[in-house]
Amino acid sequence: MYFLRESTSSMRRNMALTFAAIMVTGLSLIILGVVSMCVHALNGVATHVKQRVDEIRVFLKDDITVEERQSLESFIRRMPEVRSVTYISKEQALVEFKKMYKDQAGILKEIEGNPLPAGFKIRMKDPKYNRTVAKRLNGRTEISVDPNTGRKEIKFREDVVNKVLRWASAIQRIGLFWVIVFGIEAVALVSIAIRMAIYSRRKEIGIMKLVGATNWFIRWPFMMEGVFEGFIGAVIGIIVSLLWYSGLITRVEAFVNIANLVSSGYLALLSFILVLIGILIGSAGSALALRRYIEV
């Protein structure tokens, strides 16, 4: 009770600075909250898309005979999981490739002849059969081997997934950078606010020392003040993050037609982490101020 009384009255006296410290702490935690939520949502989208891609491609060795190719095709066709098989010749592959990179003339110029392999495009009755079919195909010698990995060239169509994942990691990197920048600033501001609080009470601190107060007894109210500022910052961060969730993420959920892209469990975990980091910022700030300004 004693400590609570001491810290709240001191905060009232340094209103503006306390406010600034809380706001910047809040800002860094808002960014953290929003970024984590976006990254989490994008990862969710990626997983989801991955599950919905029901197509795999296999590439063939260049030197196989037509009979070998047809044998493989009928082998695939006989599988109950397969919906359709399409043969793509080397020429078709090149046409497709050129279409995909039509705006990158440089790459096209590099190509001499036709280095692209022929292959099959296999669609499943359900994406969950991807693995089973791929595993079965792994035993076939007609399929070419990737010289880099030594594995058979059986590819899932993951370009969309990869694009989403790239977005997620870019947002994560940029977001993390700003979280750190504002986090450091928040620590500095809390530290300044606490320093002012110490300064305005230096006479009282002197008297406390005189009557034999231990350093920790003197420090506690200031420590609590910093922690409290961090905590309020965290609350602001959580509120804005939740607004962001309800304003944007739910719309994304509707758009990609996935319910619970960001689960309430994740929201709870995120809130907990924000509070934890807020308190960490607050205590780091006050510890910084106390280390230098309260000496015996």
Binding site: E204, I207, L210, V211, G212, T214, V296
Partner: protein
């Protein structure tokens, strides 16, 4: 109780605040530490509170060499050494009662003890009727009595008073020193730094006189002396 052994304190710029001071103060003694401003009285007191470290020599309180007390234990030393100053050092936003109870709160005493001790000690200094007054509503003498109550509420074995009558008129000064005398009678060792000649002459206590950091006189039942 208190021993100074060849204590020298040199401040920056080769200023000798204390120069080879050796003195013993027994339990329950009342000592006037006299001398003009700058004679080393304040340094003498600061060394006993471990606010300053001696440049050479040792200071003992109750057979403990203060140099052996670790930093974090200094607060516990200060609970044993009550302190009163010329400028009272009261907290203006706290009442008389709170200013005194504060000293106990700070040392983590339970509320029950605080509620018994504080009225008791305020009664001793004669301020039972002003518990809820604020320091700026009190006269200088009353403020000094609050500060003595605060120093004494922990029942420290030693009470240091640095020019406690410096801001007070002569009759109030006498009241304050009489109060210190009563505290001394309860078994507390009292050391009072002063350059108040009349007070020293009136009370006839042991007098330790400092000049330029050296003890030039140590006399039982002494008077202030000539140079003044």
């Amino acid at each position: 109780m208190i021993k100074f052994r060849r204590v020298t304190k040199v401040y920056q710029g080769n200023i000798y605040a204390l120069d080879d001071v050796t003195v013993d103060i027994a339990k329950q003694e009342f000592v006037f530490l006299v001398g003009p401003t700058g004679s080393g009285k304040s340094t003498f007191i600061k060394l006993m509170l471990k606010e300053e470290e001696p440049t050479s020599g040792q200071v003992y309180i109750a057979d403990t060499n203060l140099a052996d007390i670790k930093r974090w234990k200094i607060p516990y030393l200060r609970r044993k050494v009550g302190c009163v100053f010329q400028d009272f050092k009261l907290l203006p936003q706290k009442t008389v009662y709170e200013n005194v109870s504060y000293a106990l709160e700070v040392t983590g005493k339970p509320r029950r003890i605080i509620e018994t001790y504080v009225p008791e000690v305020l009664k001793l200094v004669g301020l039972s009727h002003k518990l809820d007054a604020y320091p700026d509503e009190l006269s200088g003498g009353e403020q000094q009595r609050v500060s003595i109550a605060r120093a004494f509420v922990n029942r420290p074995p030693i009470l240091l008073a640095d020019e406690p009558t410096g801001n007070l008129d002569p009759s109030m000064s006498v009241t304050i020193v009489k109060l210190l005398e009563r505290i001394n009678a309860t078994g507390t060792t009292v050391i009072m730094a002063t350059h108040d000649q009349e007070i020293v002459n009136m009370f006839k206590k042991r007098v330790v006189e400092l000049r330029e950091g050296r003890i030039i006189r140590d006399q039982a039942r002494g008077v202030y002396g000539h140079g003044g």
